[in-house]
């Protein structure tokens, strides 16, 4: 109960603080440079130069403190030893390159990068196209989109009920093994099945991300000019040809956006691996490896930060591409 009060008072203080800042600082500004009187024009110009920074102030403070500073600090830390007391140059990175677990994580991350965005986009495209003209299409879309609201941890539990293994002579309570034994196969411990267990983890993320891809691609498909499709049909194109040769090329830009957005999610994938295998049996990924180095046993912030910086470097191309696109649009 007292927790609830704490939360409510935080909201109140937070909201009140924000409003007080914005209102108060504006009021002060108007008091110093009153927008009337003999020097009104001059004052308005001066106030206009300062006011944006009052509006932006808190946001810049937060962004700087919670995103920019940590990146710089991580960079600094990655060049130092485990507790940051001694400069060690690139040796954390050199260690990483030679470390077996790091290589495994790198390889797995690459695998995730290839498989998850591709499958999510593909399924999303198929789902968008299939449900587009159906009477019950919207309900279908909602249901495919639904996993998006489920936490990675929740998804881990959900899929545990699918991958669960029981010895061959027992009743299978995992759906996958039940199906396999129905078809005469032997039950498998899917999550320890190297290297295929990686794919079983990826399926969980594909399951979550497909809805996102579907929603966006469905909007893009609807935006395609009808004339192009009608013309193709008049020319005798089959439905499949219309889809692949007319529709898909026209939404390539959106597909790229979906692909990169999922790519970023994939690069940071942590929870799924953390709760389902914790990186055992050859399923380690960078984010979980970093967590291991930073919070398990004796922390080594140098190595942990080096791994974090590798993640940062991996997202940089997408960052640059996004900025490039955004600026193109602003112009």
């Amino acid at each position: 109960m007292e927790l609830l009060w704490l939360a409510i008072s935080t909201i109140a203080i937070g909201v009140f603080g924000c409003v007080a800042w914005f209102w108060g600082s504006n009021w002060v500004l108007d008091a110093i440079y009153p927008p009337r009187g003999p020097r009104a024009g001059d004052n308005i110009r001066k106030a206009g130069q300062i006011r944006p920074w009052l509006f932006l102030g808190p946001a810049i403070l937060f962004l700087g403190m919670y995103l920019v500073y940590p990146v710089i600090d991580s960079l600094w830390r990655s060049l130092h030893n485990s507790d940051g007391s001694r400069f060690v140059g690139m040796s954390n990175y050199v260690w990483a390159v030679g470390d077996g677990k790091f290589r495994e994580s790198m390889l797995n991350n690459m695998l995730w990068l290839l498989v998850v965005p591709a499958l999510s986009t593909l399924f999303g495209l198929v789902a968008a196209q299939l449900t587009d003209r159906l009477k019950w299409g919207n309900i279908g879309k909602s249901l495919i989109f639904m996993p998006m609201a489920i936490s990675f941890v929740g998804a881990g539990v959900i899929w545990k009920f699918i991958y669960e293994y029981r010895a061959a002579d027992e009743t299978q309570i995992g759906l996958l093994n039940w199906i396999v034994t129905k078809f005469g196969g032997d039950p498998q411990i899917w999550l320890t099945l190297i290297p295929w267990n990686n794919f079983f983890l990826m399926i969980v993320l594909v399951w979550i991300q497909t809805g996102f891809a579907m929603v966006i691609l469905s909007a893009a498909l609807r935006g395609i000019p009808e004339e192009t499709i009608e013309a193709a049909i008049l020319d005798g194109a089959s439905p499949l040809q219309v889809f692949f040769k007319i529709k898909v090329p026209q939404i390539m830009g959106t597909i790229a956006v979906v692909w990169t957005t999922i790519t970023i999610v994939v690069l940071k994938v942590f929870d799924i691996v953390f709760v389902m295998t914790n990186g055992q049996w050859g399923t380690q990924v960078l984010a979980n490896l970093m967590y291991d180095w930073m919070f398990r046993g004796t922390p080594d912030y140098g190595r942990g930060s080096a791994i974090a910086m590798v993640l940062m470097i991996l997202v940089t191309p997408i960052m640059v591409w996004n900025i490039y696109n955004a600026r193109k649009e602003v112009r």
Binding site: L6, V15, M319
Partner: protein, 377 residues
């Protein structure tokens, strides 16, 4: 023409069926969790959840009464009783373990020396013999029975009261609500400045926000934890609220700016001409008009904070009192491998709130996604 129509309807069928299969495939995992959360431990570990809707068949045996229970009727020695318990119903019965369904209910068989055994549909049996019974242990009757599907809400009662999930639920709520409300305000002002105010460095700042969108959260954990310690915030709610505010801001500013840029210029210009201050324009015009975008971001942030495990683990700590629901789930998955009913029920409770929000506010969620990805990107 007829051929084309036929082709078209078969295509419609194909589309309908494949769409249905796809939807089914995507729904089944969640459905499995939902069903499992209403089954007790024995049910979960003895059969798959997909079998829980049909009556489950069991085999077993019961012993008849002994010589002491025998009565006399029509010159025969008779032992009577019932083989069924609770809500079982009889499918078949037998007298040998190998064949627990050798006879249908109502049939009669001879065991030995003129002993006649009849088991009826209602489970009552009648064992007769011309000679007096002498056995000390009853004869075994093997049965094949059906139990109707059974569901219980007991898991929910237990999880919410005894297992500490109620506490975790409150913790999650306490983390989520301020972490959703505070960034919205801060972002709204910043977005307005980026969208409608002229100042040097505006393009650069906008680009920076787009860039910060993709910064991996993991990079920020250690530096921020140390920063919080130095500032005296330490581990706790204040720290996690601030952290989530910081992490949520790029998306908030980006979404809101994209939306505000699209608002009609004339409205804002004419308000300026009429002498309205920027603060008044923001509060009276921009904020009300931006409601859809604010709602979109609120949903994103709510889902993200509610579902987060990493930030909560790092900034809030791991003791029993501090755990949020995702943390509890993680512990359950790790330690109590056997307590499936607890795991399933806890998981379902933890995902039920986001699912409710999702289904209630789907319109805004979709709109936000489209604003974030198709227009900008």
């Amino acid at each position: 023409m007829e051929g084309m129509a036929g082709q078209k309807s078969s295509l419609t069928w194909t589309v309908n069926i494949s769409a249905f299969l796809l939807v089914l495939l995507w729904t089944i995992p969640t459905l499995g969790l939902f069903v499992s959360s209403f089954r007790d431990r024995d049910q979960i570990s003895s059969s798959g959840w997909w079998q829980s809707f049909s009556a489950s068949e069991q085999t077993g045996f019961v012993r008849t009464g002994t010589a002491d229970d025998a009565t006399q009727a029509d010159g025969l020695n008779v032992i009577e009783g019932n083989v069924l318990e609770g809500d079982q119903s009889l499918v078949g019965w037998g007298v040998r373990a190998r064949e627990p369904a050798a006879f249908a209910p109502g049939e009669t068989t001879e065991i030995e020396d003129g002993w006649q055994l009849t088991v009826n549909e209602d489970g009552s049996y009648r064992l007769t013999s011309p000679q007096p019974f002498e056995m000390r242990r009853g004869e075994r009757i093997f049965t094949t029975t059906e139990v109707p599907p059974k569901f219980t809400t007991g898991n929910y009662r237990r999880v919410l009261t005894a297992e500490g999930l109620g506490r975790a639920f409150m913790n999650t709520l306490t983390v989520t609500i301020p972490a959703t409300v505070i960034p919205i305000l801060i972002a709204a002002f910043a977005a307005y400045a980026l969208a409608w105010m002229e100042f040097p460095g505006r393009a650069l700042l906008t680009a920076a926000v787009v860039g910060l969108l993709v910064v991996p959260l993991q990079v920020a954990l250690i530096p921020l934890l140390r920063l919080h310690n130095e500032l005296g915030i330490g581990k706790g709610y204040l720290g996690i609220w601030l952290a989530h505010t910081g992490f949520g801001l790029p998306l908030a500013v980006y979404l809101l700016r994209n939306y505000m840029v699209g608002l009609p210029r004339e409205v804002i210009e004419s308000a300026r001409v009429d002498g309205a201050t920027e603060f008044q324009i923001f509060r009276r015009i921009i904020l009300p008009l931006s409601f859809p975008a604010l709602a979109s971001f609120a949903i994103f942030q709510f889902l993200w904070v509610w579902n987060d495990l990493l930030v909560a683990t790092v900034f809030l700590g791991n003791t029993r009192e501090q755990l949020v629901m995702t943390g509890v789930l993680r512990e359950l998955m790790g330690s109590k491998g056997g307590e499936w009913e607890i795991l399933a029920t806890s998981a379902f409770i933890s995902i039920s709130v986001p699912l409710l929000v999702f289904f209630a506010m789907q319109k805004y969620l979709v709109r936000g996604l489209l604003a974030g990805s198709v227009k900008g990107g």
